[in-house]
Symmetry: D2
Subunit: 350 residues, 4 copies
C-alpha cells in the first residue's frame, strides 16, 4: 500500500483527492493537514466522506509526512516550494497541485506569482505532469508539477496540431470557460451563489497566470528554440457550473491535413483522451467527476472560401483531469501502477 | 396611443414584448395571436402578467391586425414573409423579430433557412433594425428586420473598430455564449433543465444561421464592395443562464489607435450602449432585463511583444436588446417617440 | 422630493433599495453610507446602476442623514437601534430593514439576537411594517420595523385564516424555502456557488430568529391575550435560486369555510397580494423583482375522509416584498404617496 | 455473470441503470430496448457512456429478454404489467422501476394511474423493494416493485418512529422537494431550463400518485388492520437541482423517546442509511450520485412549552436510491450478492 499524505486538504482540490484516494485499492491515506481545522474530522467538514474517510485534519508539524510514500500539495501557490526539499530528501515523492514548479523560467514565474522562488533548482528537476506528453519522464521523477486546469484542457486540444507542425503558431486563441469550483473554496464575494449564478463574465483578460504556462507548453510542443515562442491569446471566463472547463480553441492551418485522422491517431492509446466523431460538440457534463478529456475538431463553414480556420473543442472536469485526477494519474505512473487505477468511474450524467 | 399587435405570442420573445409593451405609456395592446392557444387568457399562460395584461390569445384570422399601427412578428422563421405585404398594404408598420428580412442576399438566405423566400422585394425594402447603425433609415421605414441576438452583441462590439478601418478584417473571431432562453420556449430534450444546467457546450460549429447575418453586417460597416467580405469565425455556446449573451471578440489591429477613446467616442450619444472603463469585465447580469449593451475593450498582455490583438467583451440580454427591447426601440423610432421610452428600467441584480 | 438616506448600502438589500429608489419619481437619493467602501462610487460596486446612481459611499459620520426626510437602515442587526433616536429627534423618519424593532418582547429579542437592546422604548413605539395588517398605524408612524422576509410570506399566507378564527392554532407548520440572496452579500463559505448550487438543505431547524417574529404576528392576528400564543413549527431551507421565498403552510381547519372566497375577500383591495384561482401553484419567478405576494390555498385530497387540512402556498421576492420593496411601500405610506408608487414593475419572467 | 436487460433505456432512470450496471463486476448487459431509438448506439445518445457501453438500442421484439436473468423496466407506468408474466414464466426475474406493482389495492391503483390493471395476481405476488423493510422477502422474490423516489425518502424518514409506535399517526406531513430529473427525460415545456431554473414551486397539491404509495407504506409499518390508515399530507415541490430529493417530515410524538438513539439503533446495520449526529442538516449533494439516504432528526425549539413536534430531514439521490440504485440493490439481494456491490461509490461533492 502506498502511504499518501495531503497538505492543505480543506479546498475543493483536497476533497476531490480524498474522494479518489479513498477509493484507490493501493493507497492508504496517512495524513491530511490543515492548520486552521486541526483536530476536526475530515468527514465533519465534508459529509460526503462520512464512513469512508476516518482521518482528522492535523497541523503540518504533527502530520507524519516524511514517512509517507507520496505527498500531495493542495495548497495555495508558494507553500509547496518551501517544504518540498525536505520531503524529497526523506525519500518522499511530491506532487504539487499548485503552480510552484510549473514554469521553468524563474523570472517569468516570479512576475506572475509575485514572489521569489524558494528553490529554482527543484523547478529545473520537476517534471510537468501531463502524462499524454511526459509519460516516461513522469515514471522516473521525484517531483511532479501537476498542470493547471486551463493548461490541461488547452494543451490537449492543441497538441496534435502543434506536434504535427501543421498550424500557424503566430496566433492561437484559447477562449476558456470554467465552473466556479475553479475559484477554490474561499470565502470571496465574487464566488457567492448570488453573484456567480445566472450570469457569465470574462476575467483577467489583461493577463492570467495560466497564460505563461500554456505558452510554455505549446512552445515546447512546437520544438521552438531560444527566445521563440508561440503567439497565444488566452481569455478565461466564469460560467455557472460547479465543475467543468470548456476550451474553445482557434487557429489557422499552415498545411492541409486530415484533422480527424490526426487527432484520432495521436490519442489512439490514451485512456483518458476521447476524440469524438467529426462534427461533435462535447459537453462538460459528459466528463463530470471523471478524469476524461473529450475533444472534437472542426472546420467551420467547411473551410469554404479558402478559409483555413480550425476550431477545437476540449472539455475536462477541472477538479479531476484538471487537478486531483491528473495527480492520481501521475501517482499511478510514479509507483508503477496501471495508469487508470481508481480513475475509471463513469461520468455522472445527468 | 399606438395600437400594437403581436403575432405568435407564446414564446419568450412574445412574453418579453408583452412585459415591455404593457408598461409603455403610448402603447395599447390590441391583439396577440396563437393558433394553438386561442381563447386562453395570456395571463393564464404567463402568471407574471396577471392584472397587467387582460388580452386572450386569438387566432391570426380573428385578430384585428390590419387595424393596428404596428405588428410585431414573434414567430418562427418563414411566417412573417407570408403576412407582411398584406399588413404593409393596409398601412401597418411591421417589425419582424425572426430572420425573414435580415439577409439581403436571397440565395444565401434560402441556403441557411432552407426555404424559398416569399417576397424578395420586401427584403430589399426592409431596414435592418440596429439603431446604433441605421437610426435614420429606421425612422422612415415601414418594415424592420429586427436583428438576431448574437448579431446584435457581435456587431456592436466590432463596430467602432471596423468603421474606423483599424482592424484586420481577414480574420475576426466571435466566441459567443448564450443563455438557454435563446433556444426558445419549445419542448425539446436539449433545452431541459436536467440537460442544460451544470454543463457547457458549443453548438453549430460547422455553421450557424447568425454567421451570414453577422458577416453581412461587418462587411457593410467595412464599406466593402462587390464580392469582398470580412473573414469571420463564429462559434455559439449554450451556457446555464436564463437570459444573457456574452460575446468575446478577437481581432488584430491593422493600425495603432487609442481603443478606449475610439469606443467612448463612437458610443457617446448612444443611450443603450455603455462603454466600460479600461480593464473592465462586463457581466451578463449587469444588463439583465434591460435594453443595454455593455462593452469593454482590451489589449491582452498589454500588447507586449508587438502583439496587436484586441479583445472586446460585449454583453446584452438576449430577450431585450437581443429581441423584444430592440424591437420596442425600433418602434419608438418608427413613431417619433423618445428612443428609450419604456426601456429605462434598471437591470435586475442580483 | 423626499430626501432619502441609506445606512449600509453594500448588501443585497441596499442595492435593491437603490434600484427601486433611483426609479422613484418623488425620491432624491441624498446619501448612502459604508464605512468600508467610503469614497467608492456606488456604480463601481454595482455596475447595474451605472448612469443611474451617481452617489459614492460615504462614512456614516459624513453622510447628511439628519437632513434627510427618511433614512433606511440596511445594516446588520444591532446597528439601527443605536442611531435611530438621534435621527427621530432630528425629525427624520426611520425604516429599519433589520430586526431591531420587530419583536415587542425585549427579553425574547435579546435571547434570539444575543445582545442587549439599546432603546426598548423605541421598540414600543415602532410600528411593524406589514401594510396589509398595519396600514393606518404605518401612516402615522415615525419608526417602522420592516418585517423579515420569511415572516412576510408566512403571515400573509396564514392571515385570512387566523383573522377569521377558522384554524386550529395549536399547531401550524411553515415549511419555507429561500433563495441564496437571503443569506446576504457576505463572504461566507456556505453561500458560495460551488456550495449552494445543485443542492438543497434545511437549516436552523432547532431554532431560527424569524420564529419568534412569525409567532408574535400570528398570535396578534389571533387576538390572543396574555401568555397565550399560537403553536408554530418553522423550518427554513436554502434552495438554489437567487431571489425568492416559497412558503408552504400547513394547518387544520377548526371550522368549515369557503377558503377561496375567504382569501379573495381578505385581499380584494390589496394591490400587492394576488390570490390565485383554486388549484394553482404559484412559482417564485412569477413575482421576481416585484413587490407582489401570490397566494394559493388548497385542500389536499379534496378533504377526503374528514381530512380538514389546509395547505397554503405563498411566494414573494425576498429582496422586494421581503425587504426593500416593502420598505418603499412603507415609505410611500409614511409620506402620503400612492402606496404602489415606483413599485409597479411587472415581474421578470423568464 | 448475471445477464441483465433493460426495457426502456432512454430516460434518466435508464441511463443511470446503465452507469451502475456497466460498473458492476457480476453483471453483463445483454439488451436495452427502445422502440423509437432502435439501432442507435447507446453511447451516441449518452456520450458519458462512450467506451463503456457498446450496446445499441433494440426493439423489444428483437431483444433477448427471455434469456436474461433479470429484466429492469425503466418504462412509463402501464408497460411492465403487460410483459412481466411472460418473463416470469420464462424464469426471468423482474424489477419494475415504474409504479405497476407498488399499490396492493387495485382499485386505488386504477384511480390514481387512470387505467385497468393487467395482472392483479402479480401485484399480490410482487414484493415492495425497500430493502430496509423487506429484505428477506426480496431475497426470495421473482418480481420486485421498486419504490418511488418520494416514497423512499419519506418512508425511511418516518420508519423508526412509526415502527416504534411513538408517533401520532393521525397527521403526518411530508413536505418534499425534488430535482428536475425526477420529471423524466421528456420534452415538456415545464421542465425546460428557462422554466425550471431560478424558480421554485409546489405541484400536485390536490393529489399526487406517490401519496397512496407512501400512505400504504406507513400504514403497514404502523401495523394497522382493516380500513385504518395513517393521516398523511404530502406536498411535492420542484426545485432547481438536477438530482436530489429532500423530504422534510413533520409529526407529533405520542410518547417521549430518545429520538437520536431510536434512529441510530434502527439503522445501525443498514449500509445505505446514514443517521447524522443530532442537530445536523443533510444536504442533497452529500448523497449525489450515490445510493445513500442520510437522515437527521430534530426537536424544534428543543421541545419547549410541551411542544412534542418532531422534524425529520431525509435526503436521497432520486435517480439512485430513489430509482436505479435501489433497483441494483434489489438485484444484488435477488441473486445472493453482497447488497452493496457496485453501489459503494463516494458521493460527488462539490
Amino acid at each position: 500500500m502506498i502511504k499518501a499524505g495531503i497538505v492543505g486538504g480543506t479546498g475543493y482540490t483536497g476533497v476531490e483527492l480524498l474522494r479518489l484516494l479513498a477509493q484507490h485499492p493501493e493507497v492508504e491515506l496517512a495524513a491530511i493537514t490543515s492548520r486552521k481545522e486541526a483536530g476536526m474530522a475530515v468527514a465533519d467538514m465534508f459529509p460526503s466522506l462520512r464512513g469512508r474517510v476516518s482521518l482528522a485534519f492535523t497541523t503540518p508539524e504533527e502530520a507524519p509526512l516524511k514517512s509517507c510514500d507520496v505527498v500531495f500539495f493542495a495548497t495555495p501557490n508558494g507553500v509547496a516550494m518551501k517544504q518540498t526539499r525536505e520531503l524529497l530528501d526523506a525519500g518522499v515523492k511530491v506532487i504539487d497541485l499548485a503552480a510552484d514548479f510549473r514554469i521553468q523560467d524563474i523570472g517569468e514565474w516570479s512576475k506572475w506569482y509575485g514572489m521569489e522562488h524558494a528553490c529554482p533548482d527543484l523547478v529545473a528537476e520537476a517534471v510537468y505532469g501531463l502524462p499524454e506528453i511526459n509519460r516516461e519522464k513522469i515514471r522516473g521523477a521525484r517531483l511532479i508539477a501537476n498542470p493547471g486546469c486551463y493548461p490541461t484542457a488547452v494543451q490537449l486540444g492543441f497538441l496534435p496540431l502543434v506536434e504535427a507542425g501543421v498550424v500557424d503558431t503566430t496566433w492561437m486563441v484559447a477562449d476558456c470557460k470554467s465552473g466556479v469550483s475553479g475559484a477554490g473554496r474561499k470565502a470571496e464575494i465574487g464566488a457567492l451563489y448570488a453573484e456567480a449564478s445566472d450570469t457569465f463574465k470574462a476575467y483577467a483578460v489583461p493577463g492570467h497566470r495560466h497564460w505563461p504556462e500554456i505558452r510554455q507548453g505549446l512552445t515546447r510542443m512546437a520544438g521552438f528554440a531560444g527566445e521563440m515562442s508561440v503567439g497565444l491569446t488566452f481569455v478565461p471566463h466564469l460560467t455557472p457550473l460547479i465543475r467543468g472547463i470548456h476550451a474553445t480553441l482557434y487557429c489557422k492551418l499552415s498545411k492541409e491535413v486530415d484533422l480527424q485522422a490526426l487527432f484520432e491517431a495521436r490519442y489512439a492509446d490514451e485512456y483518458f483522451v476521447d476524440v469524438l466523431p467529426a462534427k461533435s460538440h462535447p459537453e462538460t457534463r459528459s466528463v463530470r467527476a471523471s478524469n476524461l478529456c473529450r475533444i472534437a475538431v472542426h472546420r467551420p463553414q467547411g473551410g469554404e472560401g479558402g478559409n483555413n480556420v480550425v476550431v477545437i473543442l476540449s472539455v475536462i472536469d477541472n477538479l479531476v483531469k484538471g487537478a486531483a485526477g491528473q495527480a492520481v494519474q501521475n501517482m499511478n505512473l510514479l509507483f508503477g501502477l496501471p495508469e487508470n487505477m481508481a480513475l475509471t468511474q463513469i461520468p455522472v450524467m445527468p
